[in-house]
C-alpha cells in the first residue's frame, strides 16, 4: 500500500487527504448535529433531513443569481448572507413540517421514518420541477477560489477553510445554545425526562418544534457551505443521509461530543482510504467497520442514555 512513496510524500498525502476528509467531516457534522439533537429529544429520525441540506444549497444558488443580476457590488460578501438565508429558509420549512406532520407521529417512530421518506420524495421532485434535474453551482466570490500553499507538496484550498470555519462557529453556537441558554435548559430537561419537564411547566410541544426547526436550519447551513465544495442537484442531500444516520447512531444519540467524534472518524477513515483504494470500496469498508462496531456496541461510542 505504501510502496513507491517516500516518507514525506506519505506525510503530504495524509495531510491533504486529511484536509479533504475535514470538509467531508464538516458536512457530516452539520447534518448529524441536527439529526442527533432531534433524535435525542424526540426519538424520531427525519429521512428528509438531506433535503434540508439541499434547500440550503439552492437558497445559496438563488442568492448568487440574484446578487449577480441586481447587486454586483454584493458579490464579494453575498456568501455570508446566503448562509443566513439557508438557515432561515430551512428553519422555516422545518418548523412547518414539524407542525403539519411530525408532531402527530411522535408515538410511532417507525412510521415517522416512512412519512419523512415520503416527504423527501416530494421535496426532491419539487426541486427537480423548480430548478431542473441538472446540477447547478453558485458563482463563488473571487476570494473563495484558489488555495493556500503550505509547503511544496501541501496545498490547502480556501473554500475548505471556510467550510471548517463555519462548522466550528456553528458547532460552538449550538453548544452554547444547548448548555448555556435558557432554551437549552428546556431542551435538555425535555430530553432527560419529558414528563418531569412538563410538570415543571415547560411547554415541551413548543420545545420540540423549535428543536426540530433548529436541526433543519443547521442542515440548511450545511447546504450553503456545501455549495463551495460540490455542485447541487435535486438528490445532493440524500446522498449523505445514510452516512449521517450512521454518524448519529455511531456517536451515541443525544451526545454532542459523540457526534463530533464519530463524524470525524468516519469522514477521515473514508477520505484516507479513498486515496489507496477506489472510492466505493473505501466507503464500503468504512461503513462495514462502523456497522461491525455497532454490533459490538449498539449504544454507540458515547452513549448518554441507559439502554431500555
Amino acid at each position: 500500500m505504501f510502496e513507491g512513496y517516500t516518507a514525506s510524500e506519505i506525510g503530504a498525502i495524509f495531510a491533504m487527504q486529511g484536509f479533504a476528509g475535514l470538509s467531508l467531516f464538516c458536512v457530516f457534522l452539520l447534518m448529524a448535529l441536527g439529526l442527533a439533537i432531534i433524535f435525542g429529544q424526540m426519538q424520531v429520525i427525519n429521512m428528509a433531513h438531506g433535503e434540508f441540506l439541499t434547500i440550503g444549497a439552492y437558497s445559496t444558488y438563488l442568492m448568487s443569481v440574484v446578487a449577480e443580476k441586481h447587486a454586483p457590488w454584493l458579490m464579494d460578501y453575498y456568501f455570508f448572507l446566503a448562509i443566513a438565508l439557508g438557515f432561515v429558509v430551512a428553519f422555516a420549512i422545518g418548523w412547518l413540517v414539524e407542525f403539519s406532520l411530525i408532531r402527530f407521529l411522535y408515538k410511532r417512530p417507525l412510521d415517522t421514518l416512512l412519512a419523512t421518506w415520503g416527504l423527501s420524495l416530494i421535496m426532491q421532485q419539487g426541486f427537480r420541477s423548480m430548478f431542473g434535474a441538472r446540477e447547478v453551482s453558485p458563482t463563488l466570490p473571487e476570494w473563495l477560489l484558489g488555495s493556500w500553499q503550505l509547503s511544496d507538496t501541501i496545498e490547502i484550498p480556501i473554500n475548505g477553510l471556510l467550510v471548517v470555519g463555519v462548522t466550528a462557529v456553528l458547532t460552538l453556537a449550538v453548544f452554547f445554545l444547548l448548555f448555556r441558554s435558557r432554551w437549552g435548559l428546556k431542551v435538555r430537561a425535555t430530553t432527560q425526562n419529558r414528563v418531569m419537564a412538563e410538570a415543571a411547566g415547560i411547554n415541551t410541544a413548543r420545545v420540540d418544534r423549535n428543536t426540530f426547526a433548529l436541526g433543519c436550519g443547521i442542515a440548511g447551513v450545511a447546504g450553503a457551505v456545501f455549495t463551495t465544495i460540490a455542485s447541487t442537484g435535486p438528490t445532493s442531500g440524500s446522498l449523505y443521509i445514510v452516512d449521517t444516520f450512521l454518524v448519529v447512531v455511531f456517536g451515541g444519540a443525544a451526545s454532542l461530543f459523540g457526534t463530533i467524534a464519530s463524524a470525524f472518524s468516519i469522514a477521515q477513515a473514508q477520505s484516507i482510504l479513498e486515496f489507496f483504494i477506489n472510492g466505493s470500496m473505501a466507503k464500503v469498508i468504512t461503513l462495514a467497520i462502523v456497522i461491525g462496531i455497532l454490533m459490538l456496541r449498539p449504544e454507540g461510542l458515547f452513549a448518554s442514555r441507559v439502554r431500555k
Binding site: 433524535f39 424526540m42 426519538q43 424520531v44 429520525i45 406532520l101 402527530f104 407521529l105 411522535y106 408515538k107 410511532r108 417512530p109 417507525l110 412510521d111 415517522t112 421514518l113 416512512l114 412519512a115 421518506w117 415520503g118 416527504l119 423527501s120 420524495l121 416530494i122 421535496m123 426532491q124 421532485q125 419539487g126 427537480r128 420541477s129 419529558r194 445514510v242 444516520f245 450512521l246 447512531v249 477506489n278 466505493s280 470500496m281 466507503k283 464500503v284 461503513l287 462495514a288 462502523v290 456497522i291 455497532l294 454490533m295 449498539p298 439502554r307
Partner: protein, 399 residues
C-alpha cells in the same frame, strides 16, 4: 388434522379471502391480460413476496427492516449467476478473449471464473443457495442485532445501511458482479428458453402458486404460539421477556422467514424479467416494498399482495404518462398511509360496519399500539392485547 387445516387457512372468512386471491391470480389475471401485461403482474407479484415477509416481521413482530432488498437481491443474484453461466457457454462466447466466462467479466479483463461463481454451475446448488444464502445472512444480522437488543429505529437504520453497502459493493465490483447494469441477457434455464411466451405463462403460474404457498406458510406461523408471542412482544417486549421467553430467538426466526420469502421473490423476479441489477437491492426499492405492505394493511398477509399490485399498477400507469407527478403521488402515499390509514386496505375493508357482519376484532388495536410508545404510556388497548396474548403474564402490574 382439523387443527392443521385450521392453522393453515384460518377462519372461514380467511379461507374465503385466500380463495378469492387464488382465483384472481390463477384465473382472472391469466384470462383477461395479454402475456406482456401478465408478465408485468408476475413481476409485481415477486415484490409481494417481500411484502408478505414484511407483514410477518414488521406488522406482527414490530421489526421494521428497511433493507429487505438485500434478501430479494441475494436471491435474485443467485438465480442470475446460474442463468448467466448457462448463457455463457464456450461456443456462444467464442469471440471473447476468454471464452466460457460471462461477457462482463471478459470486458473487465478477467481471465477465469471467480471462485464464488464456480458452484453456481450446478442447478441443485443454486436452488440451495437461493434459499440458504439470504436466510443465513438474515440470521447473522438478526443474531448480531437482536441478541444485543437493538430494536426500533436503530434496527431500521442499520438494515438500511447494509442495503446501501451491498449496493455500493455490487456496483463497485464490476468485474465480479456486472456492476451497475447487473447481470443481463439471461436466456435459458436447463436448456429451457425462459423468454418464450409459453415459459412466461408457466413461470407466472409457478410464481403465483409459490406466493400463495408463502401466504399459507405465513398464516401457519402466525396462528401458532410464535404468532401470539410476536404480537405480544411488539406490544410489550419486556413483559414477554420477564415471562421467561428468549425474545431475540423469536425475532431472529421471523426475520429469517421474511428474508427467505424475499429471496424466493428475488429468484422468481430474475426468471420472469430476465435480469437482475443493483437497483433492486438498495435503499429505494427496500423502502418502497415497505409501503406496499403498508398500503395493503401491515397486519394482513393477503392485503400485502393487493397493496403491492395496486401501488405498482399506479406506478406503471402514472409514470408512463406523468413521470413528474408520480413521485409527488408516491410521496403523498407514504405520508397518507401513515397518517390517515395505518391499517391500509385491509383496515378499510374490516372497518366498523363490516366488523359487525363478520364479527372480527378491529385491526386498530394491533397496529396503532405497535409503535414503541417512546414518550407516553401506551394506551390501554396495548396492555389489553398483550395480556390477551400472554395468559401467564400478570396483568396491570407493570406500571
Amino acid at each position: 388434522m382439523i387443527t392443521l387445516t385450521r392453522r393453515l387457512v384460518g377462519s372461514r372468512s380467511d379461507l374465503a379471502a385466500l380463495l378469492v386471491l387464488a382465483a384472481v391470480l390463477l384465473v382472472v389475471m391469466p384470462l383477461t391480460l395479454d402475456i406482456f401485461r401478465l408478465n408485468l403482474v408476475g413481476k409485481y407479484l415477486t415484490y409481494a413476496f417481500v411484502a408478505v415477509g414484511l407483514v410477518l416481521c414488521w406488522g406482527y413482530g414490530g421489526i421494521l427492516s428497511l433493507g429487505q432488498g438485500i434478501f430479494f437481491g441475494l436471491g435474485g443474484y443467485c438465480m442470475a449467476m446460474f442463468l448467466k453461466l448457462e448463457a455463457s457457454d464456450p461456443v456462444t462466447t467464442a469471440i471473447q478473449s476468454t471464452p466460457g466466462i460471462p461477457d462482463f467479466m471478459d470486458w473487465n479483463q478477467l481471465t477465469e471464473l471467480p471462485w464464488f461463481w464456480v458452484p453456481f454451475e450446478s442447478f441443485a446448488f443454486t436452488l440451495f443457495a437461493i434459499l440458504a444464502v439470504p436466510t443465513l445472512f438474515a440470521f447473522l444480522i438478526g443474531v448480531a442485532m437482536f441478541k444485543r437488543r437493538v430494536t426500533g429505529v436503530y434496527f431500521a437504520i442499520i438494515t438500511q445501511s447494509v442495503a446501501a453497502i451491498l449496493t455500493i459493493l455490487i456496483i463497485g465490483q464490476q468485474g465480479l458482479t456486472g456492476g451497475v447494469n447487473g447481470i443481463t441477457d439471461l436466456r435459458t434455464l436447463l436448456g429451457w428458453d425462459i423468454r418464450s411466451d409459453g415459459a412466461k405463462y408457466l413461470l407466472y403460474f409457478l410464481n403465483a402458486a409459490l406466493l400463495l404457498a408463502c401466504i399459507v406458510a405465513g398464516r401457519y406461523i402466525l396462528s401458532g404460539k410464535v404468532g401470539k408471542l410476536l404480537l405480544a412482544l411488539k406490544d410489550k417486549e419486556d413483559r414477554v421477556r420477564f415471562s421467561g421467553y428468549d425474545v431475540s430467538n423469536f425475532k431472529i426466526f421471523v426475520f429469517c422467514v421474511a428474508a427467505l420469502f424475499s429471496a424466493i421473490g428475488g429468484a422468481m423476479f430474475t426468471l420472469q424479467v430476465g435480469f437482475m441489477s443493483p437497483s433492486f437491492v438498495g435503499i429505494v426499492p427496500s423502502i418502497e416494498m415497505v409501503i406496499f405492505a403498508a398500503v395493503g394493511g401491515r397486519v394482513s398477509l393477503i392485503g400485502a399482495v393487493y397493496g403491492t399490485l395496486l401501488v405498482n399498477y399506479g406506478k406503471t400507469a402514472f409514470s408512463e404518462s406523468f413521470p413528474e407527478l408520480w413521485l409527488f403521488l408516491m410521496g403523498a402515499l407514504f405520508i397518507g398511509v401513515v397518517m390517515a390509514f395505518p391499517d391500509g386496505l385491509a383496515g378499510l375493508i374490516r372497518s366498523e360496519r363490516l366488523r359487525r357482519v363478520f364479527g372480527r376484532p378491529p385491526l386498530a388495536a394491533v397496529t396503532r399500539t405497535g409503535a414503541l410508545a417512546a414518550r407516553d404510556p401506551a394506551p390501554p388497548a396495548a396492555s389489553a392485547s398483550a395480556d390477551a396474548a400472554l395468559p401467564h403474564a400478570p396483568t396491570g402490574t407493570d406500571r
